[in-house]
């Protein structure tokens, strides 16, 4: 009742021990979570090189970049369209500081020096962009981050000294260590899998740590957060910095995957792709972006053949993605994850009262 009584209950509470925080939804708690993890681990036994890298590897890379958007949008309520730009910037930096076919530009640093440098610069880029974006809310955040993305795209197109203009940088070296060429299909797949898993679990873990909880508080009610003693803008900028690290990791993997980078890799429609991937999968859970990325990659890869088969122009694969996007947004604002959870809850409802989905907002 009162603070005085409250102090008296302290001892009993200490003895009982505070109960654990409520369980969070994660892949490892889902019936299919372990099965999926096992499947991803033995994938090289099942899939050939094309599927391993072009489908699953690309999905995990794209999903990781979209995960950085999910972190900002789902937990922080900040829709940033510059996440691919940060990834692309990290990729460019790997090319510029590392070894590539453009010896006049690349500084030739070894990968273990060029990669951390690229990540540090990407975090700096994301932090500065975030510091600009947090002064605004809602649609203005989208506009500012989109403007940063567009500006970077045009800059890379026109700058020849560092970004080599519209031709970009080619034959970028990939890492060799422990006697392994990490760009061979199987080694590269596992490298991607490890980085993606680290990012995924880091986001999942952080969502229940003070930093992540505070971010969700900022999403729900920034004014109240300030009235609880939080520096709201500092929290938002820190979130941008963390998201930039994830996007940067995705960007490094991306540039090792294609071994070249050009303005086309950071074009505005690529930035929008990341938004589509995150929204289609669902921005309320870290697993959403990976699901979205899988759907996106499957469509991008096979829609062409499919469309040609039914007598349409194969370049219209974006039409399919667009229609799928419309359908998902129409039926579920939480993307595929939202559809799945509703279906699952309907199953549970028969024997138990529904427990709400958790961190959803909108």
């Amino acid at each position: 009742m009162s603070l005085i009584q409250e102090a008296r209950t302290r001892e009993s509470m200490l003895a009982r021990g505070a109960t654990a925080p409520p369980a969070t939804w994660s892949v490892t708690e889902q019936p299919w979570g372990w099965a999926l993890a096992a499947l991803l681990l033995i994938m090289p036994l099942i899939a050939n090189g094309f599927f391993l890298i072009e489908i699953f590897g690309t999905t995990l890379i794209l999903g990781t970049i979209a995960l950085s958007l999910m972190f900002l949008a789902g937990y922080g309520g900040m829709v940033s369209l510059m996440q691919l730009t940060i990834a692309g910037f990290a990729g460019y930096m790997v090319a510029v500081f590392g070894v590539s076919g453009n010896a006049n530009i690349s500084l030739g640093w070894p990968w273990w020096l060029a990669t951390p440098m690229a990540l540090v610069l990407a975090v700096l880029f994301g932090t500065l962009g975030g510091a600009l974006a947090v002064r605004t809310e809602g649609i203005y955040t989208i506009m500012i981050t989109l403007a940063i993305g567009a500006a970077f795209y045009y800059f890379t197109n026109q700058n020849w000294a560092i970004f080599n203009g519209h031709t970009g940088i080619n034959t970028i070296a990939t890492p060799h260590f422990l006697g392994i060429n990490w760009r061979t299909d199987i080694a590269f797949y596992y490298l991607i899998l490890v980085v993606a898993a680290l990012c995924y679990f880091a986001v999942l873990y952080l969502s229940r740590a003070p930093f992540g909880l505070a971010l969700q508080g900022v999403r729900d009610n920034p004014r109240r957060m300030a009235a609880l003693g939080f520096n709201v803008n500092a929290h938002r900028i820190a979130a941008y910095a963390f998201a930039a690290l994830i996007a940067g990791l995705g960007g490094v993997l991306q540039v090792w995957n294609y071994r070249q980078i050009s303005p086309g890799s950071v074009a505005v429609e690529r930035c929008i792709d990341i938004l589509i991937v995150a929204v289609v999968g669902g921005i309320t859970r870290p697993v959403g972006p990976y699901i979205g990325a899988f759907i996106f990659v499957i469509l991008r890869t096979f829609a062409l053949d499919f469309l040609v088969k039914v007598g349409l122009d194969g370049n219209r694969f974006r039409l399919l993605i667009g229609l799928g996007f419309l359908a998902i947004v129409f039926w579920s604002s939480d993307g595929v994850i939202g559809l799945y959870e509703r279906w699952r809850r309907r199953g549970q409802q028969k024997d138990a009262p529904p427990r709400s989905g958790g961190h959803g907002h909108g």
Binding site: M1, S2, L3, I4, Q5, E6, A7, T9, R10, M13, L14, G17, A18, T19, A20, P21, P22, Y205, L206, R208, A209, P210, F211, L213, A214, Q216, G217, R219, D220, N221, R223, R224, M225, A226, A227, L228, G229, F230, N231, V232, H235, A238, S356, G358, H359, G360, H361
Partner: protein, 260 residues
């Protein structure tokens, strides 16, 4: 000799909250005009006045949501006029909102935990709290103090209105509050819940002072020792509850006409 005593007694007698000539303009409209208020540590005061009298604007100036157009605000002797809200909160100021300002997408426990974390260190901690985390336990005790233990794992959006009001108060009690601003805490509460609210307010430790905005006189005048009447952004009258209640001018202006 006397002067020594005067000087010594003046040492410890800093006001909890001291407003000097605070004016807040919205364009050409003066929401607050020349407000001067001194509240002692531990003092409990009601701010009364009809809608638009400037009560909530006064709170917003004290917490720093709005900066005053002119005037100074001191909190326990420190000039906080230009401080951002979070700096004032970290110094022991708290507030509740007329319309609950909660984190609807989080559980009750997370809401209270955030309140405890906000006024302590490591707000940016990337490590999950352990089971024995002191703040987690402080949150548990606060939840128990406002009778929300049974719903602590529920999302705040699922709570009943009365429970949300209880949580609103719990968030303001986190940490070590020195002074609290309650903005219509009884809004929308049932008679039983009102009694409970009065109980919580009167049971607060004596060193915690507060200002309460409340239209329900049964609540307001029972939990305070002094009253400030506001009208059109100015201080209209100050006094003890019984003086204000029996003041003919006040009755004319507020208790008689405008009171619903």
């Amino acid at each position: 000799m006397d002067r020594v005593a005067d000087r010594l007694s003046a040492l410890g007698s800093t006001a909890a909250l001291e407003l000097r000539g605070v004016t807040r303009m919205f364009g050409a409209l003066a929401a607050l005009t020349d407000i001067t208020i001194t509240v002692r540590p531990g003092e409990r005061r009601a701010v009364l006045g009809s809608n638009g009298a400037g009560k909530t604007t006064l709170f917003n100036c004290v917490t720093g949501d709005f900066l005053p157009t002119s005037g100074t605000i001191r909190f326990f002797g420190e000039d906080v006029t230009a401080f951002p809200p979070y700096e004032r909160i970290r110094r022991g100021l708290r507030r509740t909102y007329q319309i609950s300002a909660l984190f609807l997408g989080l559980t009750v426990r997370d809401n209270v935990y955030l309140a405890c974390r906000g006024v302590s260190r490591a707000r940016f901690s990337m490590l999950r709290p352990s089971v024995n985390d002191a703040l987690m336990q402080a949150a548990e005790r606060l939840i128990e103090a406002v009778h929300l233990t049974s719903v602590r794992d529920q999302l705040v959006s699922e709570l009943a209105h009365g429970q949300q009001r209880q949580l609103e108060i719990a968030l303001a009690l986190a940490g070590a509050p020195r002074f609290i601003l309650f903005d219509e805490p009884a809004a929308g509460l049932s008679p039983t819940e009102r009694r409970e609210l009065v109980e919580i307010l009167t049971a607060l430790p004596p060193h915690i002072g507060y200002i309460i905005i409340e239209h329900d006189m049964d609540v307001a005048l029972r939990v305070v020792e002094s009253v400030t009447m506001m009208h059109n952004g100015r201080i209209f009258k100050e006094g003890a509850p019984h003086e204000i209640e029996s003041d003919p001018e006040v009755q004319e202006l507020y208790l008689g006409g405008g009171h619903e």
